[in-house]
Symmetry: C2
Amino acid sequence: MHPLKTHIDEIVELTDEEFEHVMGHFRAVKKRKHQFIVQEGDLVNKEFWVLKGCLKSYFFDDTGKEHILQFAMENWWVTDYDAFVNRTRARTSVDCLEDCELLYITYEDREKLTSTMHKMERFWAKKSKAGYIAMQNRVLSLLQNPAKERYEMLLNQYPHLFQRVPKKLIAAYLGVSRETLSRLYS
Amino acid sequence: MHPLKTHIDEIVELTDEEFEHVMGHFRAVKKRKHQFIVQEGDLVNKEFWVLKGCLKSYFFDDTGKEHILQFAMENWWVTDYDAFVNRTRARTSVDCLEDCELLYITYEDREKLTSTMHKMERFWAKKSKAGYIAMQNRVLSLLQNPAKERYEMLLNQYPHLFQRVPKKLIAAYLGVSRETLSRLYS
DNA sequence: TCACAAGTGTGACCTACCTCACATCAACAA
DNA sequence: TTGTTGATGTGAGGTAGGTCACACTTGTGA
């Protein structure tokens, strides 16, 4: 079975015909390490789904410090959602930390799909609620937990992340300096 | 026009008949200051919409410190979304900071409404995306800005909040001690 | 294959914010 | 009225985590 079907079926079950119809709205792309799929300032017309690889969505603040909003790995959705949903320019960039295989759907195709296929509207609605709750938990964790605990929670949740991405990016995600992160586990 | 119709019309336009149908799924409640609408440990079966008043959603961490996830004022939606969406027990509480007038819809009625009325599915989907983006911006702000700037941003966004709620709750929302907050504007 | 950039660890020092303590004042119930 | 509780300000001193500097190792592109 196509991995995207497996993924969607976790939330709404599709018949093979329905999935073919959905798949007809997606296109595949391969990207190499260091290539962008969204760049700050872009009009963002695509939402990506990760078949293989690892990406970061991030930006630099005005002191030049990098902040990471999200790592995206297999089965994750990624784009600049603010720009994608509200048709504005991206404030973040998304680029590949490894060579990646992605599927994407354009804004127009997504609109078409959601307005004609209730199941997919429900699928994305569920995803978006789950995203909201995850983001809320991250706020709670930033308010509540010291750096060491945030580090340990992340380690528990994604044990592979630490082998896959440089530590300074983990630090940028957790909101600590790379020096402090280094001392947390030494 | 009913304020809830005005609110929904901002995202999807409803005919009067459609709105009547929607309204048929809501019930009104009045609550006094200090009363709960969600308590930690509850099974959460209602989502509330604030017609009048002000509430907080919050919890205490294991050191006894209060953290505020959200203030809810006129036109805001509030409940414990994690519990409401995933049918689990509430980890947060929601209570009234003033006497409140609320409308609520039960989980079952919301399911009924969204599965039979595409417009309301779209309405809540949009709301939930907006919530995700807002929460993401709060994460960014926690990662990026020192306490003073977070305070000023909140002040700009909701100038009335500072007259409506005690400063220690503002501090609990911003993630600083009430002493530090006090020194930020003195 | 080699040069240069990127990743990582660690010491020394600094600072934003925390905690604890106490004082004042307003709100409100008996 | 008055006692109690909550809201707010402010001083003193402590600490988690930041910054800067340097060393060493590990990619990786020409």
